[in-house]
């Protein structure tokens, strides 16, 4: 179709390529290095939008500005629940005041289709060399690189040793070979509740696909999307129905609470109100500070299926309408691909970086964070990332999929008929996807 807007987009792409080419020449002439842009004399301010707690990236900004005297980084934190809508409204309307922003890797195909990411394929070789395997995949769409992975993630089964001891339950170990099944978890949770625990099991991101996909995947139900373009919903297969019935039952039976939002789960566990908690490593520093007692073990699985765990975290990309593309790219490169930069991104958040060198240092830090509790947590994470991690489907319709699945999970949690709700979700998704074609 020939119309003004698509022409404009092509024009923009060409422009981006030209800039990219220019940048290469510049780097070649001036010699690669951090003082490449030092000659311009003008101070450039980069706008960086992210969903973490304000101040999370202060160490990164400080370190970067120290090495790049002509660049200032301004960070804006947008709460997670509003991040997508804020970015969509601003990028969708051609906002130039965002340079670098965070994107969920599984959303990247959709964001690329909307023309909201700048192609950065020239960084690809360097990125592949510096990054842990498998983290690059979601950032590559149609053979081009659009964003750089910054962090990845995995999840543990945390338990409250006091509540388990009170119920006479032997806690699980860190050995992945002795990984608990979900049944073991719910049985123990029930006992703990009988012995006085308010909640049996808390699931950190209880209504988000990120955390719940592994349930169905463990039973072989697939990601819920299939076909060459991953635009055919398949949520009504037996494993999905079984997994979702289990998920509904734990809420129906009061092992897991209804009406509690993800942001309340961590505080409930650290207040000693729950026997088990499935969540990421980022909770550890806060719990340590609050003096919560906890132990950790491998993420559970269904006895009939395989161990599967959530993975991936944020990637960072560049707004194609940014007026500071070169500086933005250098900032991105530094934060993702240099050890120093990557470590600076995790100074305030205990989340695994995707930079391979930084990752090794992270593992040590994780192990040492709570002596006697987190020893071996790093090895366990490596094991999960290498063996059990399941990526989310890189579908161009992932954004719609993820948004709609929040409602599906919430409804099932609250008691909707599982098969009906999944069938309805398939219809809704098919309708929504028809808008993409």
């Amino acid at each position: 179709m020939s119309n003004p807007r698509s022409t404009r987009r092509i024009g923009r792409r060409l422009g981006a390529i030209a800039v990219t080419a220019g940048m290469c020449t510049l780097a070649a002439c001036g010699g690669a290095g951090t003082d490449a842009e030092g000659g311009s004399g003008e101070t450039v301010t980069l706008q960086f939008v992210h969903p973490e707690v304000a101040g999370s990236f202060d160490p990164l900004v400080k370190a970067y500005e120290a090495e790049h005297p002509n660049v200032r980084i301004e960070t804006t934190n947008v709460p997670f629940d509003q991040l997508q809508s804020t970015l969509q409204s601003r990028l969708g309307q051609g906002d130039t005041s965002i340079d670098v922003y965070t994107a969920d890797p599984s959303r990247i195909p959709g964001i690329v289709a909307r023309g909201q990411l700048l192609e950065i394929s020239d960084l690809r070789d360097e990125a592949e060399a510096a990054t842990i395997p498998s983290a690059m995949e979601p950032n590559i769409v149609d053979g081009s690189l659009w964003s750089l992975p910054i962090w990845t993630s995995s999840q543990y089964l945390y338990y409250n040793p006091d509540l388990l001891a009170q119920a006479g339950v032997e806690p699980p170990t860190k050995d992945p070979a002795k990984r608990w099944t979900w049944k073991q978890v719910t049985d123990a949770a029930r006992k703990a509740q009988a012995a006085g625990a308010e909640h049996g099991l808390l699931i950190e991101q209880v209504n988000r696909y990120y955390q719940l996909q592994p349930l169905a995947e463990s039973l072989g139900g697939g990601p819920g999307l299939e076909g060459d373009d991953l635009l055919t919903p398949n949520l009504t297969n037996d494993p999905w129905i079984t997994a979702m019935n289990w998920y509904q039952d734990i809420h129906e039976q009061g092992i897991a609470p209804r009406g509690i939002a993800p942001d309340q789960m961590g505080p409930l566990f650290s207040a000693g109100k729950a026997a088990f908690y499935v969540g990421g490593p980022w909770v550890i520093p806060g719990w340590k500070e609050e003096g919560a007692t906890f132990g950790l073990a491998p993420h559970p699985y269904f006895a009939e299926g395989e161990p599967t765990t959530p993975t991936d975290s944020w990637s960072w990309g560049i707004n194609p309408n940014s007026e500071n593309v070169e500086q933005a790219k250098e900032f991105l490169r530094w934060a993702a691909l240099t050890t120093e930069g990557s470590l600076a991104t995790i100074e305030k958040i205990l989340i695994p970086p995707t930079n391979a060198n930084a990752f090794d240092k992270y593992v040590t830090r994780l192990d040492e964070s709570v002596p006697g509790v987190t020893d071996g947590a790093g090895d366990l994470m490596l094991h999960e990332l290498e063996n059990t991690a399941v990526h989310r489907p890189p579908s161009p319709g992932y954004i719609q999929f993820e948004e709609m699945m929040v409602n599906v999970f919430e409804d099932i949690r609250n008691g909707s008929d599982v098969e009906d709700r999944l069938a309805k979700a398939e219809d809704e998704l098919a309708t929504a996807f028809s808008r993409l074609r």
């Binding site: 601003r90 939002a261 505080p267």
Partner: protein, 281 residues
């Protein structure tokens, strides 16, 4: 009704009813105020199971309020005050001018103008916030105070109330001023406005409240942290994976107290201007 002889049992029953109803409305507020003095998430210790300390902050402290003063929230409240104050000032100018033209002046098509102006502004701008936010971004007004203020300036109800008051001013006063050779803007300033203070306060209050309440628009147009308004900041106190309800309670109190004090001070004016809208027979 008010003339019926107040029989004692009747009064007792009705008073009891009044107390019950007002308590019903007050209870959530009471709980919020009490809980705002409970640090962290400890407020729920008094509702589950329920004890009357849920309404009495015995042993509480002001740590939530202290924590709110760390910058972000205070800045957002400051933004809200600035935006609401500017809305009152410029909104009153716009409304007074329009109401004056549509009442004191005589010109062909006046009624048609009146219908168009009031009708357009009776539609809350929330309805068209989404297309308008795209326009504002094109005009470079995203993340600016001007962008936050502009849409709240025109309020059909404020224009209407002011016009009603203006129409109530005897035309002889106007004629006399004209004979005296007073310019129109002087007539407005020296004759009309001094006679319409309650309507001005009432309209100003409406403008303030509508802007102080607004949520959709600031969500769309004030997306960088520096331009967050207070209601957005309050909603944002819920983090990605952590929440401190004590601060949410305290923030709710702050956001309610400010318009509350204004309403308390100007309640009479507000009621007067409501009574003057001509909605009665």
């Amino acid at each position: 009704m008010r003339t019926r002889m107040p029989s004692t049992p009747g009064v007792v029953v009705r008073t009891a009813g009044a107390v019950m109803v007002s308590l019903l409305f007050l209870i959530p507020l009471l709980w919020v105020v009490a809980s705002s003095f409970r640090p962290g998430n400890s407020a729920f210790g008094y509702t589950s199971p329920f004890t009357f300390e849920a309404f009495v902050p015995l042993g509480g402290d002001v740590s939530n309020y202290v924590a709110l003063f760390d910058g972000y929230f205070v800045r957002a409240v400051g933004n809200s005050l600035l935006v609401a104050a500017a809305t009152v000032v410029f909104g009153l100018v716009l409304s007074v001018f329009a109401a004056f033209a549509l009442s004191a002046l005589q010109f062909p098509g006046r009624e048609a103008f009146f219908v168009v102006v009031v009708l357009s502004f009776l539609i809350p701008f929330d309805a068209i916030a989404i297309p308008m936010s795209a326009q504002f971004r094109d005009w470079g007004l995203a993340n600016t105070y001007v962008g936050l203020i502009l849409p709240g300036l025109a309020n059909g109800f404020a224009i209407f109330v002011l016009r009603q008051f203006f129409l109530g001013i005897p035309r002889e006063l106007l004629e006399a001023a004209r004979v005296d050779g007073l310019a129109w803007w002087r007539i407005l300033w020296q004759v009309y406005l001094p006679l319409c203070r309650p309507a001005l306060v009432g309209a100003g209050l409406m403008l303030f409240l509508s802007q102080w309440q607004s949520y959709v628009w600031p969500l769309l147009i004030g997306s960088d942290t520096e331009h967050h308004l207070a209601p957005i900041a309050l909603a944002n106190l819920r983090g990605q994976l952590e929440v401190n309800f004590g601060q949410i309670f305290a923030g709710s109190v702050v956001l309610t107290l400010i318009p509350g004090l204004l309403l308390l001070t100007f309640q009479r004016h507000f009621t007067d201007s409501v009574a003057a809208t001509g909605i009665k027979d």
